[in-house]
């Protein structure tokens, strides 16, 4: 098991050198979410800090983690070099773990940059429940990475981008982020609860401001864990079955 983690770290470290400055990662993973973060930040007059800042964090984490995982797998699938990786004495879960580590790191980077901007704009940033915030950041990054891993292993690289964007933008509008809860028609609200972004955002909200929109923090934590284990299982099965010559 320990060897497995060492190998995953080895793949992750090499990915770091290869992919972390690729254009799609920088544009979709950093620039786009930071633009949204800035738009939200400059709208502080219209909305309250407590409404906008958690949303900005969630969007930054969502786009940062999904972008790096997408690029790190899609580039290797497109070039065919992933076959060389799978041939080596590594197991599928070690490859998957390496890619998720990338998503986790980028989730932290995205959150760090968003945090920096909000700290500057709001002249300070406090954490009422820092551990809850950290939990949301960690599990959220992993869940978003797993969703991406599932899509990018299942589909060819080009359709994977389209599907990933559909998922990300649906979360943006229907996942409890850009459209505030009171503006969502009651008939659609149960659908909103399907998206993990709701729980990540509620936990950020709770971690920063001791409040939440949809679900109490402990239920959110459990639901995110259920998402995580389900996605681990599904992504692993897909990796085994879908890899084609």
């Amino acid at each position: 098991m320990r060897d497995g983690f060492v190998r995953a770290w080895y793949i992750f470290y090499y990915d770091l050198k290869k992919y972390y400055l690729k254009a799609p990662v920088l544009s979709w993973g950093i620039l786009f979410p930071l633009t949204i973060v800035l738009v939200l930040g400059t709208g502080f007059g219209a909305y309250t800090y407590s409404r906008m800042i958690p949303v900005g964090f969630t969007i930054a984490v969502l786009f940062a983690s999904t972008s790096i995982v997408h690029v790190a797998v899609a580039f290797e699938k497109m070039s065919g070099s992933i076959n060389q990786l799978l041939f080596l004495p590594v197991k599928s879960w070690e490859v998957a773990l390496a890619k998720i580590l990338g998503g986790l790191l980028y989730g932290f980077i995205g959150a760090g940059l968003a945090g920096g901007i909000y700290y500057y704009l709001s002249h300070g940033l406090g954490f009422i429940h820092p551990l809850i915030y950290l939990y949301s950041l960690t599990i959220g990054s992993i869940v978003f990475s797993l969703i991406t891993l599932l899509i990018v292993f299942w589909l060819d690289p080009v359709p994977a981008v389209a599907v990933l964007n559909i998922v990300r933008f649906t979360m943006l509008f229907l996942g409890g982020l850009l459209i505030p809860k009171p503006m969502i028609p009651p008939i659609i609200r149960p659908l909103v609860l399907f998206f993990p972004s709701v729980y990540v955002n509620d936990l950020f909200n709770y971690g920063l401001y001791n409040r939440y929109d949809y679900v109490d923090p402990y239920t959110s934590m459990i639901i995110l864990l259920i998402y995580l284990f389900t996605l681990v299982f599904v992504a692993y099965r897909i990796m085994l079955r879908i890899l084609k010559p």
């Binding site: 190998r7 080895y10 090499y14 290869k18 070039s79 065919g80 070099s81 076959n83 060389q84 799978l86 041939f87 080596l88 004495p89 590594v90 197991k91 085994l240 079955r241 890899l243 084609k244 010559p245």
Partner: protein, 300 residues
């Protein structure tokens, strides 16, 4: 030793492999032949752990490639038909990176890399980027990579495709060296004459099913003897005369009389009497190609 056991593989609804089973023993070279799309590459990719079978398993030195992937991978080398590596990486740096998976420290891997690069004939290109490599050089690089862990088993997938005669001769020599060292070698190839030169046994696959496994001796005994005849002209009259003594095939500028019921000197005499001048006549060795098409033809 490589043991392929009852392997099935589906791509969607298409069954690419249907209960494929055969083995490659230590110190043996096995040729794997079949038409395009027969399932050769899929079998090899499953055997090296790049693809997952829907049923069955592959044992490498007794280790299951599906259940004990890491242990099995330590004992197998693979040269794919089109080796693809990181194009922007320098060959030696990439070799060192890959060697890391086998637990080889960077310094030792660098020294080993230079040695192996010399052995496979790309010593001078060690510091070049892989995108500057030709297809033949990439195959040599893939071969060096496949030898990182000094495995007992090698799988070469259409390794001779795109190689110049020197490259083909190099691979032939190396495969024989592996055999002498007691390693198991499985190689698929379209170049049947090379399979014939190298293989101890040949496995025939057609539409995902193994249709025959024969030793080279068996193949030679299966192929009918033939006379290759070159005359001053080839026309219908000649074919008609020869047809009385066996099956006739015209190929290039010669006529082949398969399983002749007449000896060479009598045939020359008969043809001279009918006005044909025989320029050359010789008994030809039965070829793998002939057996291959016969076996495939029986399946059709």
């Amino acid at each position: 030793m490589i043991v392929i056991e009852n392997v099935d593989k589906y791509f969607g609804k298409f069954k690419a492999l249907d209960n494929v089973s055969f083995e490659v023993r230590n110190g043996e070279i096995v040729g794997y032949v079949g038409l395009n799309g027969a399932g050769k590459t899929t079998t090899i990719r499953i055997a090296v752990g790049v693809l997952y079978p829907d049923k069955g398993d592959v044992l490498i030195n007794g280790y299951s490639i599906t259940r004990e992937k890491r242990k099995a991978s330590y004992h197998v080398g693979w040269v794919p038909e089109l080796p693809i590596f990181e194009p922007d990486a320098k060959a030696l740096d990439y070799f060192v990176y890959l060697a890391g998976y086998y637990g080889i420290p960077a310094g030792e891997a660098r020294r080993m890399g230079r040695e192996l690069f010399e052995k496979v004939g790309i010593g001078e290109a060690a510091d070049k980027k892989l995108k500057q490599y030709s297809q033949g050089m990439k195959k040599r690089f893939a071969l060096a990579v496949s030898m990182i862990n000094n495995p007992d088993n090698f799988l070469f997938d259409e390794v001779l495709n795109g190689l110049d005669p020197e490259g083909i001769a190099f691979f032939r020599k190396l495969a024989l060296e592996f055999k002498r060292e007691g390693r198991a070698v499985l190689f698929s190839s379209h170049i049947l004459s090379e399979v014939e030169n190298l293989a101890d046994r040949v496995v025939f696959i057609h539409k995902g099913r193994i249709i025959a496994v024969h030793t080279m001796e068996e193949i030679k005994s299966m192929a009918k003897p033939a006379l290759r005849i070159k005359t001053d002209r080839v026309d219908e009259g000649l074919v008609k005369i020869l047809g009385e003594y066996g099956e006739v095939r015209v190929k290039d500028d010669a006529v082949y009389l398969i399983n002749p019921s007449i000896d060479s000197s009598s045939l020359i005499e008969k043809l001279s009497q009918k006005g044909y001048r025989v320029e050359e006549i010789n008994r030809v060795r039965p070829s793998l190609e002939e057996v291959f098409f016969k076996i495939i033809g029986e399946q059709k």
